[in-house]
């Protein structure tokens, strides 16, 4: 019996903890968890995933503290709230636990930043920049509108700013439109915007809550080809629309890598002291007609 236990311990060279603000019920985090599991199997390490069932900052911080108390060989954590995580993570780093950030970085200035080893995730601003560039590759819009469903949301505003900065450089008029999270309002307001500025030929949406009504509008009003949609995020409705040519492209953040890579990095760090510098970007990755079939298949397999 004792022998079995010893063998089991020996089988796992290291134990890593992954703590995120997203629970197992969220399909987005299900993909991350799969990445963690696959990497742990491949490298023969133990990886424990912790996340609150429903979003709760307090519970999340409790889980982070619980993970630190276990003195793991490595800790992977989303910097959902840099202020609340500052004390526990600095303590962990002082204890000698290597920390890797995923999904949300510590966006404070460098002198206040939690000194984690590196960040694995998407840059929201770049997502906007790449979205605009991909649209320019398709055609040069006369006028563009950015449908924002939650004004003031830091991530969405950063995406919008990325789009605006690129288009402004090309002197293309671009404006944000507050479409709300309600689909009927979103559709009507976009329709009114198109009536007000009939030269609008590009709609950027910043998430499914914008993409779905925009797709509906273009289909209902038979504007396919006349008004092109560029989306961010992945749903089956969006991939279907890409196949039909209603949406030109969407941006994916490849969150599988946000689970897989930190385990690889921590393993290499413990083993050889190797670690990438600063940010490792898993997105923006562009999904369009050229790769939508593969993407769809990998969605079904749980890799996206």
């Amino acid at each position: 019996m004792a022998l079995v236990v010893l063998l089991a311990v020996a089988a796992f060279s290291y134990t890593f903890y992954v703590v995120s603000h997203g629970g197992p019920a969220d399909p987005f985090w299900g993909v991350v968890m799969k990445g963690v599991k696959d990497a742990a199997e491949k490298f023969g390490v133990e990886a424990v995933y912790l996340g609150p069932e429903k979003f709760s900052l307090k519970e999340f911080i409790d889980l982070v503290n619980a993970a630190i108390a276990k003195k793991p060989d490595g800790l992977v954590v989303t910097i959902t709230n840099p202020v609340a995580l500052d004390e526990p993570l600095r303590r962990a780093i002082e204890m000698g636990i290597p920390v890797v950030a995923i999904n949300v970085p510590d966006d404070r200035p460098i002198d206040q930043k939690i000194p984690y080893l590196c960040y694995v995730g998407m840059d929201e601003y770049l997502a906007g920049v790449y979205a605009a560039r991909r649209m320019l590759q398709e055609f040069t819009p006369k006028r563009a509108v950015i449908a924002i469903h939650e004004p003031g949301h830091a991530g969405l505003e950063a995406r919008a700013k990325g789009i605006t900065d690129v288009l402004k450089e090309k002197k293309i008029p671009v404006e944000k439109l507050d479409i709300t999270t309600d689909p009927t309002k979103a559709l009507t307001l976009l329709k009114s915007y198109l009536a007000k500025y009939p030269d609008t030929d590009a709609i950027f949406t910043l998430g499914p809550l914008g993409a779905h009504p925009a797709i509906q509008l273009v289909e209902e009003e038979k504007l396919v080809g006349k008004v092109k949609i560029g989306a961010i995020d992945l749903t089956t409705k969006i991939t279907d629309a890409i196949k039909k040519g209603v949406v030109v492209f969407t941006i994916d953040q490849q969150q599988y890598l946000q689970g897989y890579l930190p385990i690889v990095f921590l393993y290499l760090y413990k083993e050889y002291g190797l670690i990438p510098h600063e940010n490792v970007l898993t997105g923006p990755s562009i999904v369009d007609k050229s790769n939508v079939d593969i993407v769809e298949k990998t969605v079904q397999l749980g890799y996206r």
């Binding site: 399909p27 429903k54 439109l177 689909p183 009507t188 007000k196």
Partner: protein, 320 residues
Amino acid sequence: MTKEKVILESLRIKEFGAIVGVAIFLVMFSLLSNRFLTAENLFNTLTMAAELGIISIGVAMLIISGEFDLSVGSVFAVAPMVFATMINANLNPYFSLLAALLVCVGIGVVNGTVTLKTGIPSFITTLGMMMFWRGILLAVTGGFPIILSRRVDMLQYLGGRVVGGLRYSAIWFLILAFVFWIVLEKTRFGNWVFATGGNPGAARALGISTDRVKLTNFIFSSVLAGFSGLTTFARFRLVDPTFGQELELEAIASAVMGGTLLTGGYGSVVGASIGAFMISMVRNGLVLAGAPAYWYRAFIGVILIVAAVINARIRKKVAG
């Protein structure tokens, strides 16, 4: 009739403030945009107003009888969620529709019963229900939309196109506003609603079962909210767990703009409908006028307060 009498008579119309408001904005936006005063835009506005308007009807009825319902925004999402899940499980569409509406009846009954039996304010009961159902929606869907997986012809008559930008949801809105106007203004039940909200003690002394009146209105409020959610679902064929957020407050705003008193006993279903139309008109009008996108919320806030003040003044004047 003297001129003064005419003015006083028109002030007696409960919807007077809302009608004047709509007229003012109509003129204002027509001057700001030549695309505003077109049939197409009127249809768009009415369609956009429909989803809020249908909810406002029930909310106004309930407020007049002296209670609140904050759970309507969540119910707006629960009904289509039940419907979509059942349809995707290959159940009969009519049966699914009935089941979805019955769930709403159930929520209304729980709202009413808990409020009336325990004596806690409906503000709290329905706030709790709002959170509870929103939580259930998030937990069940994991945050992702449920997409209708097959064609259901019936949905055409809930949210399909009638002509141009006019949708069946707008037709339903007009029909329901008319039906509930009759219920509130022309039936005995309507009188009971006013009495229950205005002076519950006197109402009970007259033999009105105020609890039953309130319970009925809780059910109306829930069912109308669910029905409104179904018309939206019928158009988009998918339902997000965020569906209907903040609609509960917009519905209260519509009722207030339409002349309904938050303290109960006074108000109008038609007024609430006009209030919903006004909110929709302003939102749409600002876009057509090319106003910066982020100003809308501030604008509506001001209108709400101004409308409430004007309505209060009018009532004072009429009451002498």
